[in-house]
């Protein structure tokens, strides 16, 4: 396993573009997080300190940081599709197999790398949130700090799921740009299914329940948007805006199911293909 990860990391690390993208996908969310946590003075007119809003309080900080950090996954998504696309365009996939890598090992080396990256990203966001939380949070009891750390797990699963989808599209289409384009196609497709379900079932709520099973939506649903929750904490008396923002076990199972399916399909695709 270590051998396969090392193999893939060498391929990625020596490539300037993917090295920059990996850097950006780690550094950018981190920087945004740190910048938003410091007090910014707008030329003496007013000072903006997001910490004052209470968004860096435990436990809501876990929710907020993971939600916003997950938008930066697109940088690594480019790396994932190009690490497949490049193997095809350089024909190194064929050479790798001839040199004695099995098709299974090839897919696994990509998948392990995805998991490895997701672990790193989760750890980084976890640590950053932890320290910023310690600094800003009004409550620092251990029981409160570690309440809702399941958002970190959700973040990890979300990354693995999304990158597995990218891996599959990369294998399917062999070209990085097409694969990224297909993500957008899938996004529209999911809305079409939503619309179809709405027509058939006659209810928006039910249609959303259907959509929640689709790949992109199920990944998005893992971490619900936290804006409404922030508003809720400001106006606790407005009960009509209450919503279910928790991470549910079945949401995780759905995304893990999709990830397994995408990896398996990628393998099947490669196995059937003549190179």
């Amino acid at each position: 396993m270590l051998r396969l990860v090392k193999l893939e990391l060498q391929k990625l690390w020596l490539n300037k573009v993917s090295r920059i993208l990996i850097f950006v996908s780690f550094i950018l969310p981190f920087t945004v997080l740190v910048l938003s946590s410091i007090k910014i003075n707008f030329f003496g007119f007013f000072t903006l300190e997001l910490g004052e809003l209470g968004i860096f309080n435990f436990p809501i900080i876990w929710h907020i940081t993971t939600f916003f950090a997950s938008y930066f996954k697109f940088f690594f998504a480019i790396v994932v599709v190009s690490m497949i696309g490049n193997e095809y365009s350089n024909k190194t996939l064929k050479q790798n197999l001839i040199d004695g890598l099995s098709k299974k090992e090839f897919i696994l080396s990509k998948f392990y790398t995805i998991v490895f990256f997701s672990i790193c990203a989760t750890l980084l966001i976890g640590l950053a949130s932890f320290f910023i939380g310690l600094y800003y949070s009004s409550y620092t009891e251990v029981s409160i700090i570690f309440r809702e750390v399941e958002f970190l797990l959700a973040y990890f699963v979300k990354l693995v799921g999304f990158f597995s989808l990218c891996l599959f599209f990369g294998m399917l289409l062999k070209r990085s740009a097409f694969a990224l384009g297909f993500l957008f196609v899938l996004y529209i497709f999911e809305w079409l299914i939503f619309w179809g379900a709405y027509e058939a079932l006659g209810s928006g709520d039910l249609a959303f329940k259907v959509k929640n099973y689709l790949p992109l939506e199920s990944m998005y649903k893992l971490i619900d948007q936290p804006i409404q929750r922030i508003v809720m904490t400001k106006f606790p008396e407005k009960t009509d805006i209450a919503y279910d923002y928790a991470v549910h076990w079945y949401e995780i199972v759905i995304v893990l199911g999709w990830s397994a399916l995408f990896i398996f399909l990628s393998y099947r695709l490669l196995k059937k293909r003549d190179l």
Binding site: R3, K6, L7, Q10, K11, L14, N15, K16, N86, N90, K91, T92, K94, Q95, N96, L97, I98, D99, G100, L101, S102, K103, K271, K272, D274, L275
Partner: protein, 300 residues
């Protein structure tokens, strides 16, 4: 003899096209084999199947004694196919390091093999800066990293200039001299003739011949003749059962032997019959002529 690769009734279909048809042959240790055939005769497809990148339609093959999986066997095989495929953004040494990781070989081999192909002084240059000849030599170095039991080369001199071709052939000969089994696919006949001891001839996916190069056609050779008494000679040759086909190109008569006969015996015979030859050469068909004859015969 120890078998290295055994192929039994291998067939590959691409839709309606049959690229390889019921192909069987065995590669034994220590010989230099050529797979010969025109473009599109199924050479690369056959190699692709045994190298695990193309899926077979039917039939089977096994490496070594049949107890090793293809995956493990490939770690003891060195192969280059069509064009050298490496990561353009890595240096030669980095590319070879990656291959070492795949094959599970120690990194210490890298310098040694780069030296064999004469690329040691360019080891830290990026692959994309290499000329085609250098790329092809790097591919050979990469295939040699694991000190393979068998080296498979698919059109190794394709697209190279004369110096490049010469360098590659020299390297192949040196490797063969070390006792490594080599399987060389090519459509260049003189290449196979110069390098190989055994040959498998393919046409449209079918095997036409497999065996030693020098036994490819049971031929006793032919005489190339010139004389002043052109017509008399022709008459004599046509009457003689020793000779089969006779070809005439202006002054030059080519007479193919049905049974062995030395040039001096023939010369003596002609002299006794009063025909003085101004030109007498005894030759065997080159591989090219044999190959064309073989592929022609099958067409009729």
């Amino acid at each position: 003899m120890e078998p290295i690769l055994t192929i039994n009734n291998l067939t590959k279909k691409f839709g309606y096209l049959t690229a390889v048809k019921d192909l069987s042959f065995t590669i034994n240790k220590g010989n230099v084999y050529g797979i010969l055939g025109p473009n599109g005769s199924g050479k690369s497809t056959t190699l692709g199947i045994v190298l695990n990148v193309v899926n077979k339609t039917s039939g089977d093959f096994h490496w070594f004694d049949g107890n090793t999986t293809t995956h493990d066997a490939l770690k003891q095989v060195g192969a280059i196919i069509e064009r050298p495929n490496f990561y353009p953004y890595m240096t030669a040494a980095e590319n070879l390091k990656l291959v070492c990781r795949i094959k599970g070989v120690d990194h210490s081999k890298i310098d040694e093999k780069l030296d064999v192909v004469g690329l040691l002084d360019r080891k830290n240059h990026k692959f994309k800066t290499y000329s085609l000849g250098m790329k092809q030599r790097l591919a050979i170095a990469s295939a040699l990293l694991n000190d393979p039991e068998i080296l498979i080369l698919d059109e190794p001199t394709n697209g190279l200039d004369p110096q490049g071709i010469h360098q590659i052939r020299q390297i192949i000969k040196e490797i063969a001299a070390d006792g490594t089994t080599i399987l060389l696919a090519s459509h260049l006949l003189d290449e196979v003739e110069k390098v190989c001891s055994h040959v498998v001839v393919l046409r449209k996916g079918e095997k036409l011949y497999s065996g030693r190069v020098d036994e490819m056609i049971s031929s006793h050779g032919f005489f190339e003749l010139k004389t002043d008494k052109h017509n008399e000679l022709l008459k004599l040759l046509e009457a003689d059962t020793n000779f089969g086909k006779i070809k005439i190109e202006e002054e030059l008569i080519t007479a193919f032997l049905n049974q062995p006969m030395s040039a001096s015996d023939f010369n003596k015979m002609m002299f006794n019959k009063g025909i003085i030859l101004s030109h007498l050469v005894k030759r065997k068909e080159s591989l090219e002529e044999q190959f064309l004859q073989l592929t022609d015969n099958q067409q009729n």
